[in-house]
Structure formats: C-alpha cells, structure tokens
C-alpha cells in the first residue's frame, strides 16, 4: 500500500507539515481562517532542530498494535490497509497511545478521543497534505516493498 515515509536527510525542520496537517483537518478552506491565532494540533509532529529533524506520523503498520489493543474497536485497518480511527466509537482510554511504538497517536485537542494520521483520506485534501506541503520531499507518499 501507499504510505507516508519520512526521510530525515531532507527534512529542514520547517514544521510546515504540521501546519498543513492542521489545516487539512480543520475542515476549513482557508489556511489563515483555520489557523491564525490558534494553537495547532497536527497529527504529524516534527522532532529535532535545524540540524537533524524529521516528522513522525502513523506508520500504518500492517500488524498494528494500536488496532490489536483497541478496547472499543474504534481503530481498524480499512480495506486499503489504512489504520483509521472511528472517533464515534473511541472512548479515550489511550491504550493506543500506550501501544504505538512510534508515539504517532495523540489525544485530540479536547482529549476526549485520540487522533491520528489517516493519510488525509478523511478530509478534503485529496492526498496527504504534509506530503504536498513538504518543500523538500522529506515526506513522500509512495509504495514501498
């Protein structure tokens, strides 16, 4: 399946992926309207400084521990292999946060449920916004074997 991959060699630490993610998942059509004056809660997080940096988001593991451990069945792999969250079912127990070896699942902004990267399948971005918005191809969306 196509996944998002991050190559730290090319990450500039510009954090634009975080903003693109937050915008894509804001449901708004204007970035300024969506993000100005707000604290963002992106599903992708950049670690590091301007020397070494990289973004981390869901790896969409085929053997996903978060899915296996989910107590409500809110997390599942869809038919394309995307690990998706049904926030309607999620009760916010955070077992997935306990389980994810990459630290890629985080509480939603109000902490009532969790959020995670769903490859922008759940918004209007069309393709992963972080990939589109990365100025240096440090984040790519592709098939790897």
């Amino acid at each position: 399946m196509k996944r998002i991959y991050v190559n730290e060699e090319w990450c500039l630490g510009c954090h634009l992926c975080e903003y693109q993610c937050a915008f894509a998942n804001s449901g708004m059509d204007d970035m300024v309207k969506a993000l100005k004056g707000k604290t963002i809660h992106p599903r992708i997080k950049v670690e590091g400084d301007n020397k070494i940096s990289f973004a981390v988001n869901c790896r969409h593991c085929s053997d996903a521990r978060c899915v296996k451990g989910c107590i409500s069945g809110a997390l599942s792999r869809d038919k394309d292999g995307v690990v998706v969250i049904d926030t309607d079912k999620c009760v916010g127990c955070f077992t997935c946060i306990l389980s994810c070896p990459y630290g890629a699942i985080m509480p939603s902004s109000d902490h009532s449920v969790v959020q995670k990267c769903q490859l922008c399948m759940d918004n209007a971005s069309g393709e992963p916004a972080c990939v589109k918005g990365c100025p240096n191809r440090a984040i790519v969306y592709e098939e790897r074997i």
Binding site: R59, G69, D88, G92, F94, S99, Y102
Partner: protein, 412 residues
C-alpha cells in the same frame, strides 16, 4: 456436529483467534460458544457505558456488523460449554448437545472473585462489575440518591466508581490495601491519583475491610460504619480454568500454555483472561488479564491452530487507564533503579535494570508513551539510545539514525 475450530468464549481473545485463523485458513469451519447473549464487546467499556461515553450499540460494534458472517463463524449465544471430552474431541454444551472440534480454543475469561464476607448474602443490591449485564443491572438499581459502596480500589472498582459517578449520590471505596491501584502504581503515583479521585467526592477507606453488612450499613474492620444502598464487589477476578482442569490440562493460577498458546491437552489452546502466558520481563508465566493481551494471545492461538506459527513471546503487563480526565499509562514492573520526575500532578517514573527499561509509570504525562512501551517490550539496550533525552520525553530522536531510518522509512 463438528467444527474445524471451536472457540469457547466470545470476547476479545475469540476475535483475535478468528482473525488469526482466517489469515491462514479461509475454508475451515469455526464455531463460537458463549454463555452471554451479546456479540463481542470490550469489557472495559462497561464503565464508559455507564458514564455515557458510549452506548450499547457502539459497544457491540467492536467489530463490524458482518464480522461473524464475513468470517463464516457459527455463533452460539447463551450456550455454556460444560465439558471437554478429549478422547472424542468434543465439547458438551448446556442443553445436552455435544459438538466436535478439530482444534479447540478455551477463551473462557475470568469470573469476579467474591470473598466470603459476613452478611453479604443479605445485601439486596449487590453487584459484580464485569459484564454488560452487570453494568445494566447496576444502573438499574441506583439513582441520584444512592449511596454506593465499592469494595476494591483496583482498576475495576475505580472505573466502576467513575462510571456511576453521575448516576449515584455518594461513592465510598474500601480496600484492604494501603493504597489505590496497587497493581499498577507505586505509592507516590497512587497518592496523586487518589487525591485526584477524592476531589470528585469519592471517599476512600484503605487498610480496611468490611467486617459485616447489615441492614444497609457496612461495618468496617476499623469499626467505621458506612451506610449504603448498593454494594459493588470488585476485589478481583479468578480465571475460569475448570474446563481445562477437568479435562486433565495443566492449570496453575490460569491455564498453562506454551508460546504457541497450546495447553497440555492435544489440539486445545487457551487465551485471554483464563490463560497464563509468558511475561517477557520476568520470564515467568502469569495471567495477564488485559484486553490487548487477550487479543494478541487469541490471535497467536488462531494462527497456530490453523497451521501457521506465531509465538506469543513478548507479552508484558501494561495499562492505559483514566479517571475523570487524569490519564495513567504504565507498563512492565518496577524492580530496578528508578528515575522519578514529578511536576504537580504530572508524574513520571522510569525503572531501569540491566541496561533495559523495565517498567514505567506515567500520570498526566502520557504523550507518546508507546515509545517507552516499546523500550520495555523490545528490551532495547539503553546504551544504544540517548536515554537522557528519552527520559526527558519519549522521542524518535533518541534512537540511532539507522533505527530512525527504519522506523520512518521502512515498511511496517
């Protein structure tokens, strides 16, 4: 009637087993026998159900509606497995029928443990807190004025307290131990959480126990008296091992299994709360009555039952739990050198031993906790990572470049 795969119990381990089987075998017939009358649901959800964080309908959609159909599973509700006949490879069911199996999984779960307490039999409204029916019955029995006494300050008792906090008048918790959540928290952590819960109006009587229930009043060993309208017994659970024991299988606290989740009885496997598995930290077998463990063990059993091989060898104790918005994540055990960081309500304890992270406690500081879990589970040598950095906060940066490259660029 004979099924290639017969599963006793219809909880998470059963689902893991079904999904494990279907990874290898799309043809073999599967039957699930359960004495409950529900589709599968996550038992820990019952407190959220009571707290109106979820509904029965959502609870029962742990797997999609077509789950049994899609996986071609015969589901026999309200049917109890009474006996395993190992010679004939059949299971006798309540109602007298008998069905055969090729491979059998015992995922019978556990039962609430109710210690002998004086006067308990006379308590009209007394409940366990394990099943959806328990939760429904409890909800039915209490109202805004009810004084509820919960015996047991462990995970079940306290989640129950949270669950009914908006439905009951007052909540009192009694426990023999000197602290709450003793199975997952150290004293400091326990104190923090206790304070937080107490702020919600829950009263604790620790180092104490009920000496007698009588006429709506519980008299504690210390002599204190607590009036109640309903009692919840949540002192613990006991694995349901009788089926295996009667059939001659080895049983300790739980049903003994090997790394393939097989019992000592040929073609019989066990998983979930009824079974023991290897705690990869201590190297000892124990019952890990945790939902993720049930799934993974059931899954491994299913794979092995259907001709594949999956060793269940990386089980660790771990817990994610929250009370009124305060989130706690713990894993492993706490035998070793501790690094502790406390900042107000935030509490972090990392326990190291033999160049490994052996366990941790995180209270209100759970961000990316899975990275710590990973260190515990994978026994990552700490001198291969930047432990100082990761102590500060869980991060990929603490791993070597090569590990990061695989984490972020490899196919997972």
């Amino acid at each position: 009637m004979k099924y290639d795969y017969l599963i006793i119990g219809n909880s998470i381990a059963a689902v893991g087993c079904i999904e494990g089987i279907r990874e290898n075998d799309n043809e073999g017939s599967i039957c699930v026998v359960t004495d409950e009358n529900y589709r599968v649901y996550g038992r820990p959800l019952i407190s959220y159900y009571l707290w109106n964080k979820t509904t029965e309908k959502k609870m029962l959609s742990y797997r999609p509606d077509n789950f049994y159909k899609k996986n071609d599973v015969e589901l026999m509700l309200g049917t109890r497995a009474e006996k395993i006949n190992t010679e004939k490879k059949t299971v006798s069911l309540s109602g007298g029928s008998e069905i055969g199996y090729g491979k059998l999984l015992i995922a019978a779960g556990s039962s609430p443990f109710v210690p002998p307490m004086k006067g308990l039999d006379g308590v009209e409204k007394k409940f366990s807190f394990m099943t959806l029916d328990d939760a429904k019955a409890l909800a039915e029995a209490i109202d805004k004025d009810s004084r509820v006494l919960i015996v047991g300050a462990g995970l079940i008792g306290l989640k129950c307290a949270e669950g009914i906090s908006d439905r009951a008048g007052s909540l009192t918790v009694v426990d023999l131990a000197n602290r709450i959540l003793p199975s997952i928290l150290d004293e400091k952590g326990s104190a923090i959480v206790r304070k937080h819960i107490e702020r919600r109006g829950v009263k604790f009587y620790l180092n104490d126990s009920v000496a007698e229930f009588k006429d709506g009043t519980a008299t504690l060993a210390s002599g204190k008296k607590i009036d109640y309208d309903a009692v919840v017994i949540a002192v613990g659970v006991r694995p349901n091992t009788a089926l295996a024991a009667d059939a001659g299988g080895e049983v300790n606290r739980g049903i003994a299994t090997d790394l393939k989740c097989a019992t000592t009885i040929p073609d019989v496997y066990a998983a979930g709360d009824c079974a023991e598995c290897l705690n990869s930290i201590t190297g000892k077998s124990q019952v890990l009555a945790l939902l993720p463990n049930a799934y993974m063990m059931g899954h491994a059993a299913g794979v092995n039952m259907s001709g594949g091989e999956e060793l269940y060898d990386d089980a660790i104790p771990m817990n994610a739990i929250g009370f009124w918005g305060l989130h706690i994540i713990t894993a492993g055990d706490y035998e070793g050198e501790a690094y502790v960081k406390r900042e107000g309500i935030k509490y972090k304890k990392l326990v190291t031993a033999d160049n490994n992270l052996r366990g941790f406690i995180l209270i209100d500081d759970i961000e990316r906790a899975g990275i710590y879990t990973r260190l515990v589970r994978e026994k990552t040598p700490l001198d291969e990572i930047d432990f100082e950095a990761i102590k500060e906060r869980p991060q990929e940066m603490a791993f070597s470049r090569a590990v990061r490259k695989d984490d972020l660029g490899g196919v997972k």
